[in-house]
Amino acid sequence: MKLKSNKNMFALIMDKLGSWSLLILIGVVMAFANSKFLTSSNILNVLRQIAVVTIGAVGVSFVILGGGFDLSTGMIATFAGCNSAALIVNHGWPILPAMLFAIAIGVVIGSINGVLITHMKIAPFICTLGMQYVVNGLILVTTKSVPITGLPEAYLYLGRGFIFDVFPVPVAIMLLFVLVGHILLKYTIFGRSIIAIGENEVAAKLSGLNVNLVKVAMYAFCGFCVSCAGIVLAARLSSGQPTSGADLSLQAIAAVYIGGTFQGSVVNTMAGALVWGFMNNALNLMNVNAYWQKVALGIIIIIAVLFDAFRAKLAMQKKS
């Protein structure tokens, strides 16, 4: 009896904390292992590093929780960074319209993904894989594979600035995206519909949800988030780099899965990105060889997904 209640307690804590418990584990271990880990400069540094991925991962969360998948996000992000830079530097556009236009292109590409997947019934994995190459090609065509430099200070502020000289601007943008994403997912019909479709598309349709429209909107929203991430990335790198976002798709997907998809939320996705960022940081601080770091990070993804599956299993067994 005692044992059983302990087990239930454990299940409950796991259910509530999810991947945050992994983060706590890393924090506790590293607090003892390395004195530099728990300093504000180190923490802010890690937050800066994960800001771009997290902004994009907010959008990717919607897609994955809605039962879809998107491999094209890295390229959409890069495209937005390069487009905004090109419009400003090469065509003399003011900053804001240039950014809005670049983001709009990302939304359009996301919508095209959505329409192909819902109306043409193409598997999301393959559709977005194809789209990744299309966008990659467009980037090379438009930039001729040359980085676009000479961005104005105000643009760079988004990626390199600090609020009151302490708080990094990209981290503030990241928190804003997480907050808005969280509200959208938990407090709107759109968010509810996404969760419902991700869980049971047939039942969602029979419950009168406009499944196709919601799915297109979800890919469009993803396009919006990753385009914003791409602009922040360009600002961080001080240039529109045609090859900068190649790894972003997979990192964003990793963040979502580390965060957990069983009872997924945008806040959990941020936890996933934090686990990734702090793990990276911890390995750096411990002077682990960069090649071995990759191995370790890969293992983290697998462990996190196993952990999520285990959590799901516990939740499914929870009889009352």
């Binding site: 029979l206 419950s207 009352s320």
Partner: protein
């Protein structure tokens, strides 16, 4: 003649349901044996026990002189028991011959003898006078041809008994004839055939002997030459109504839903027309595959309408999706509530509000307090047994899951509610509650359409019954004329009137 298969005192229970009690079945060598009973009589369960797909709780199975116990479907197939399910078990992308010899390809030095395989398969087809090329892909065959391939596969494994589960349900008259020719051929070679069917004429045409099951019980067996059709029907259904159905006295009002000549474009739903009134429970009876669910899915906008019109409260509407149907006040409690009705990983509260999310908005955002109040209200109203409104619906019993599905339609203010087998898999106590809820709905002026394959239930709950047979409405029966005999006659195509 010698017995090939003998089952005695077979019992099998599933959680909450006793599927078989003391069932016997004796099949002789070279006999065509009909296994008959209504939907849910236990025929499929019995078949699965013979194949080894289910484990019996008690009883004995003798096959070919030996008692068999705990066999797997694969082992029993190798011993000579072949089962041909309604859902055929062939691989579409490969050739007929490969399907016949799958898992038993002729080998030589570790290599498949393709040529020998095709020759052997062709020899079998020729032997049974089937015009079929062993090289053709299963994909290109008709349903009837696929069935023949299954039979030939059974023959090639030297099956001593072949059990066919409603083999004629998807065949035309001509195809049925050629199936019977094959069955006679099998019989002449000493292979026993167990023939499951609803069609009484077919029993007279092809079978020697019959065993009747009813509600999981063994009713009896007869030689076909000694029995009349009426006696057969009496054996299938002959019992008094035992369950209690709550009384209902509410008035019946004007027509709310009218359907005119709807067709699905194939042969599953053909020119179905009916009307149903405010405050009425209209029952839809029919055998499995008669087209009842398909009809309702079209009315609810799940599947496209190939022709026909739908009127709601006298106005003609085009319904393209469930969303449209809901907009016009319809609700659909589907047969398969776990896959189509519920979000199992989500809580009672999330499921309750799913159809009418708009109603829990406050200033444009979802308000969790309103959601909780709504969920509590329906849990109290329908007496849903759940520890809390946050319980995931996968942990609820069938009856309580059904109540959650119902509450989502009640909260969305549906006026016309379609129930497809609302009490399937639900225990007796909870059934009565569902009937009481249905009564409360019609008393409240709502319209209820209920599909049920349970004869007692449909007679106990409906004000009027429509019986479907092969995609058409075979008959309409008013409450004062309800009789099991009449319903069965319509349902098996013995009798039909244009309505």
């Amino acid at each position: 003649m010698e017995n090939i298969l003998k089952l005695t005192q077979i019992n099998k229970s599933f959680p909450g349901v006793k599927a078989l009690s003391d069932v016997n079945l004796t099949v002789k060598k070279g006999e065509v044996h009909a296994l008959v009973g209504e939907n849910g009589a236990g025929k499929s369960t019995l078949m699965k026990i013979i194949s080894g797909a289910y484990k019996k709780d008690s009883g004995t199975v003798w096959f070919d002189g030996k008692e068999i116990e705990n066999t797997t479907p694969k082992q029993s197939e190798m011993m000579g028991i072949s089962i041909i399910y309604q859902e055929l078990n062939l691989i579409e992308r490969i050739s007929v011959a490969e399907n016949v010899f799958i898992g038993r390809y002729p080998m030589k030095h570790g290599m498949v003898q393709w040529k020998k395989m095709y020759q052997d398969a062709q020899k079998l087809f020729d032997e049974y006078e089937l015009k079929m090329d062993a090289h053709s892909l299963v994909r290109s065959l008709t349903m009837a041809q696929k069935q023949m391939v299954e039979i030939i596969k059974a023959v090639s494994i030297n099956a001593k008994i072949i059990i066919m589960d409603e083999p004629t349900s998807s065949l035309s008259g001509k195809e049925t004839e050629s199936l019977f020719r094959i069955i006679r051929k099998l019989k002449s070679r000493g292979v026993a055939v167990v023939f499951i069917t609803h069609r009484l004429d077919e029993i007279f045409e092809i079978c020697d002997h019959m065993t009747v099951l009813r509600d999981g019980h063994y009713v009896g067996e007869r030689d076909i030459k000694d029995i009349t059709k009426d006696e057969m029907i009496t054996m299938m259904i002959g019992r008094e109504l035992t369950q209690q159905y709550p009384e209902r006295t509410n008035p019946i009002g004007e027509v709310t839903l009218a359907v005119k000549n709807i067709t699905d474009g194939s042969s599953r739903v053909k020119n179905v027309s009916f009307e149903v009134h405010k405050g009425e429970v209209l029952g839809f009876y029919g055998l499995v595959g008669a087209g009842r669910t398909e009809t309702m899915r079209m009315i609810f906008g799940v599947d496209p309408l190939a022709g026909g019109e739908i009127f709601i409260n006298g106005e003609k509407h085009v319904i393209r999706s469930p969303r449209d149907a809901i907009h016009f006040g319809m609700g659909f409690v589907t047969e398969n509530r776990r896959d189509e009705g519920l979000f199992l990983r989500s809580s009672v509260r999330v499921n309750t509000v799913m159809v009418a999310l708009r109603k829990i908005l406050k200033k444009g955002f979802i308000n969790y307090r309103i959601e909780a109040d709504v969920a509590k209200k329906y849990v109290d109203m329908l007496h849903t047994a759940t520890p809390s409104i946050d319980q995931k619906t996968m942990f609820l019993s069938g009856g309580n899951q059904q109540k959650v599905v119902l509450s989502k339609w009640l909260f969305s203010d549906s006026d016309i509610i379609i129930f497809d087998e609302p009490t399937r898999g639900i225990d007796v106590g909870a059934r009565r509650e569902i009937y009481e809820i249905i009564n409360a709905l019609v008393a409240d002026g709502k319209t209820v359409v209920m599909i049920s394959s349970d004869m007692e239930e449909i007679m106990g709950v409906s004000d009027r019954i429509l019986v479907m047979y092969e995609g058409t409405i075979a008959g309409e029966i008013q409450k004062e004329d309800f009789s099991q005999d009449l319903i069965t006659k319509y349902a098996v195509g013995e009798r039909s009137v244009r309505v």
